[in-house]
Symmetry: C2
Subunit: 305 residues, 2 copies
């Protein structure tokens, strides 16, 4: 069975590891709304988190970036009063240099991503949602910020009033995305932040339309455990933008797009208001490879045999 | 007294260290003909050799690049099948990233260079010969190569039949170059390769004209010792392109542009054919800071008091 996963960064990448361990033909559609230009380089944090996780190169302890990373280039940049707000490690920079060189030579992001995945020995297909420029902007009381400025520089401290996906109106799905969705036996939405990780993917009109008109079931995994985000601002955003952090508030982010929602055992007591969305209760904290695989199996098991 | 030094890379940088130790107001005009785009970054090897030497960051033993350098980024690039023929260290890359970002933002090379020099605490004025694109091409029996391809990738093994300085026809001197030459009390030409390090500077018409019409004396330092280059292909190039490796062959590279030539003691026996060019015999091997300073003093002493 073909499985398509829509995924954001670190949490999504962990889930993708589980799916790849539990299923054969997996295509991951990655968020590019948080892509950012740093030191003149095109950085795609979510695609890279997925690549590093699938290649086994990710730093499990730190939770982001590469294992055994060093920071020599940024030391040098700092001494030259250069841009250091976004922490790019040396190994990571190698990838950004190769990617940026490919993009400047006219290669689309999807092709560069494929080349890099191949070089890293990643067999799973990873496709950016779009090859076009799509950037997430965060509207807050303190003003509108590019996603990474809000997330990294401001430590996502400002309450979010809204989001804007610059370029989404005209963005086309990257080659392979629509075919994958059409041929999918199951579509999964990773336990990523619905607003900043998944919404930018769904902001590409043709992807949203394909999901709304799906023939395969679509199962989302809630990123909340007992109404709290494991990491990051998802719970605060849901509380403010959706009015709460119950499963129904998560489901509402994907209204008309999902058939089931995997929720954590701890949220078992509040399964009202889900309408047509079938709840699947599982342990969702991905503490290790086994936990990742079990969560993936719970989501994969949602398909009627 | 204002001293202007025309300089190439590593050997020139060592000489510049000596001049800065021996004189007060020094302006260095650096070669940019061997600038090269690597991994999408603008690399200016000669400017950087001078900056690193003056900042005390250069690797004395290896002879190029930075002391304490590491190579993590290139390891990562290699794993991605990226471009690794030009050895860029991690600390070095920090500078190339900052420079390239400045250039892409529209800053001229001279301004970026000044910013970097300031950040490194380099008080000496370093100006690229030109802010315009100027690239050295090497004509050989095996074909024409960009300088770095010939020098690095092919290990300068191909005999050189000629040189071409792409962009020189329209290149203007960088801001400050002509003023410095006009106000100079002495102009020095570093013991760099006359063909690949100094000629690209002189290929900028206005710089050559300023040198030809100079009021200050101009003293060149021969890069040869006993008719041999300390390092690199200068001797082979002189033998083939000038017909020999005696002081007069070096002097001929600067015909009409110099008043004196500092030659090594070992070349003392072959001082014929120098015409108006006064020979100054000195020990030219720059084994340490003292030797660099003494060589600079020999060149500085060429000025009639």
């Amino acid at each position: 069975m073909n499985v398509v996963v829509l995924s954001g960064g670190v949490g999504g990448a962990r889930f993708v590891q589980g799916v790849v361990a539990a299923a054969d033909l997996v295509t991951v559609v990655g968020n590019v709304g948080d892509d950012v230009d740093v030191l003149g380089l095109h950085v795609s944090p979510d695609l890279d988190s997925i690549l590093y996780a699938l290649a086994g190169l990710n730093d499990e302890e730190r939770g982001w970036g590469r294992a055994g990373e060093t920071w020599r280039v940024l030391e040098s940049v700092a001494a030259l009063n250069g841009e250091t707000w976004f922490r790019l490690g040396d190994l990571d920079l190698g990838l950004h240099l190769v990617r940026t060189q490919g993009l400047r030579a006219g290669e689309p992001l999807s092709l560069v991503t494929r080349r890099i995945a191949e070089a890293l020995g990643v067999g799973t297909t990873l496709v950016p949602a779009t090859d076009d420029r799509l950037r997430t902007w965060i509207e807050t009381v303190a003003g509108e910020f590019h996603f990474q400025e809000w997330f990294v520089s401001r430590g996502h401290r400002d309450d979010v009033d809204g989001l804007r996906f610059e370029g989404a109106d005209t963005a086309a799905p990257a080659p392979g995305v629509l075919d994958a969705l059409e041929q999918a036996g199951l579509i999964l939405i990773a336990p990523s932040n619905p607003y900043v990780s998944i919404a930018p993917i769904l902001a590409v009109g043709a992807i949203r339309d394909a999901l709304a008109g799906r023939t395969a079931p679509c199962v989302a995994v809630s990123p909340l455990i007992a109404g709290r985000a494991v990491k990051g601002p998802a719970d605060r955003m849901l509380a403010r933008l959706a009015g709460g952090t119950s499963p129904r508030h998560v489901a509402r982010c994907y209204e008309g797009l999902i058939d089931a929602l995997v929720v954590d055992e701890s949220d078992d007591g509040d399964l009202v208001g889900l309408g047509d969305v079938r709840p699947i209760v599982a342990r969702t904290l991905m503490v290790d490879a086994d936990a990742r695989r079990r969560l993936a199996e719970a989501a994969l098991g949602a398909v009627p045999a």
